[in-house]
Symmetry: C2
Subunit: 362 residues, 2 copies
Amino acid sequence: METRKYNFSAGPGMLPLDVLQKAGGEIQSWRGSGMSVMEMSHRGKEFMSIAEQAEADLREIMEIPDNYKVLFLQGGASSQFAMVPLNLLCNKGKAEYYRTGSWSKKAIAEAKRFAEVTVVADTESDGKFTSVPAEGAVVHGSDAAYVHYTPNETIEGVEFPYIPDTGNIPLVADMSSTILSRPIDVSKFGIIYAGAQKNIGPAGLTVVIIRDDLIGNARDGTPAMFDYKIHADAGSMYNTPPTYGWYLAGLVFDGIKRNGGLKAMAEINQRKAGKLYAAIDASSFYSNPVDPACRSWMNVPFTLADAGLDASFLAEAKEAGLITLKGHRSVGGMRASLYNAMPEAGVDALIAFMADFEKRNG
Amino acid sequence: METRKYNFSAGPGMLPLDVLQKAGGEIQSWRGSGMSVMEMSHRGKEFMSIAEQAEADLREIMEIPDNYKVLFLQGGASSQFAMVPLNLLCNKGKAEYYRTGSWSKKAIAEAKRFAEVTVVADTESDGKFTSVPAEGAVVHGSDAAYVHYTPNETIEGVEFPYIPDTGNIPLVADMSSTILSRPIDVSKFGIIYAGAQKNIGPAGLTVVIIRDDLIGNARDGTPAMFDYKIHADAGSMYNTPPTYGWYLAGLVFDGIKRNGGLKAMAEINQRKAGKLYAAIDASSFYSNPVDPACRSWMNVPFTLADAGLDASFLAEAKEAGLITLKGHRSVGGMRASLYNAMPEAGVDALIAFMADFEKRNG
């Protein structure tokens, strides 16, 4: 077996090694069925058992209330950017959005095709996003169909340390890069959606957790594939779902369940991020621009004091088995994504490498 | 390694064993990269090389002209049912559809959300679909934005033995269950689309082959994810594509290339289907209702003279390692899907089992 590396990709990101091992071991035949999960009819009893177990496990680890449906869809968060307004606007034309980074900007741009968007908070300053509004600082209008925010901005590494209180207005969250990183109170949300490729499974699967009363109001002219009701009524099998991604997600959920659930994940994630931020803050060679009150546990952008060293940092890191550390072009520098599947040993190795690199170049 | 079975699923269907073996062998680390293909950033050089090779191989085996784009999307044929009218109607409100089975019915129902649909041919008779219009029998109106048809109806096992001549009107084909089964002249089409889960790869990937001049005309209010131009301009990476499916599709394309291309596939497929139809026709115990001129190479539905024997046929077939033979509920009886990955030995085994079952029960 070839050596695995510590892969800090922002997504698609690392998957748990035991998930890959299990998937590899049964790729030609799942539990005596004589077929790969990829080859199963989605309506057959084998895949139905996989699908149902995955949903049951996700409901258990996230403590999803019974009045929420869990949908396993395609199209990524980018599809949800349109599905949310198409399904939630009803007779109201207005929607409120928090603008706290690159992904909320994309959500806003797409929503504007369908809705009158009110940006209720905009934290851009000098072209950068490094903070979120103070808790309680945003007042929500009663005429909004919903409020949308991005709890964790993958590119900027900015994270809300609280859930906005929107009263009776449904709160919609793009949790692509933070879902399953810690326990959350699902009952505070109208919709939670997440592309799978960070903390859930492979790209091509999108999980949507939606409160029952928000289903069934798609506007006229909505494509069937963008209507939550059609997917909810069909148990996410209106058409052929991304079966292999659903199966892998199930393996991930099962692993979280067996390893102490989201509370245990939160402890590890907080510790992983905490030690990396501590190392950055203790150095004048590295820096992170984000307000310490809203630094992301999942995505840690950092810059070198001398950007001229970026290329050699990346090359030497790669030699040391630490890969995909290059920051997003809009932010520059480095970004270490520390999703659930990144072992704590990977963070330790990164910190040690950073110290050594600083010693040699600082 | 557990025994593989002959899986006659209509989709998701069998994948070539060597593709599963290769994927399993590198599931923890692709070619020394230290990461699974599932874990790769879609914008990194590793995945880019996989993606580009897959497209190049598909272009080679299908001989796709340079004025066509190849898109690797999500959402299945069901998403294309909406994307086609949303992108092709332009100022024309009309579209023409052939109605030859369950899937063209679904395409029509979805198109009606957006277009004035003219059904130019309807082969339903007594609630069944068993034929296609005679070649040249359908006249196309010059005011149609496009003509849509379903070259192979997966559920009914009905296949067009010709490509409709639509003159200057773009021809759009749902080739989900027939793409890669034989050479086709791509230049006769405006758009060819196909869900991957029959002849291409795992569910969750959709391949769209579209002529350049049909890109860039999405109507106002089309979600970004449903706009061909957005995907074409971004090289199918407007958002995170279904990377693992794209990779597996590449392995399938490579296999076809190494094994004689689509001409070789066509010979094998014609032989596989031919011998099964011959066995059915030679028996009064089994029957297939489809006009012999338009019987599908890919999906062979058949009924037993005594439907009371269906359950024991299925149970005994399963014992013999022949699985997922139950017909679609709308047609009844059995259905043997003979996609590219079904070995000829699987068809031989099915025919032998059928003869034996008939001997014992006929």
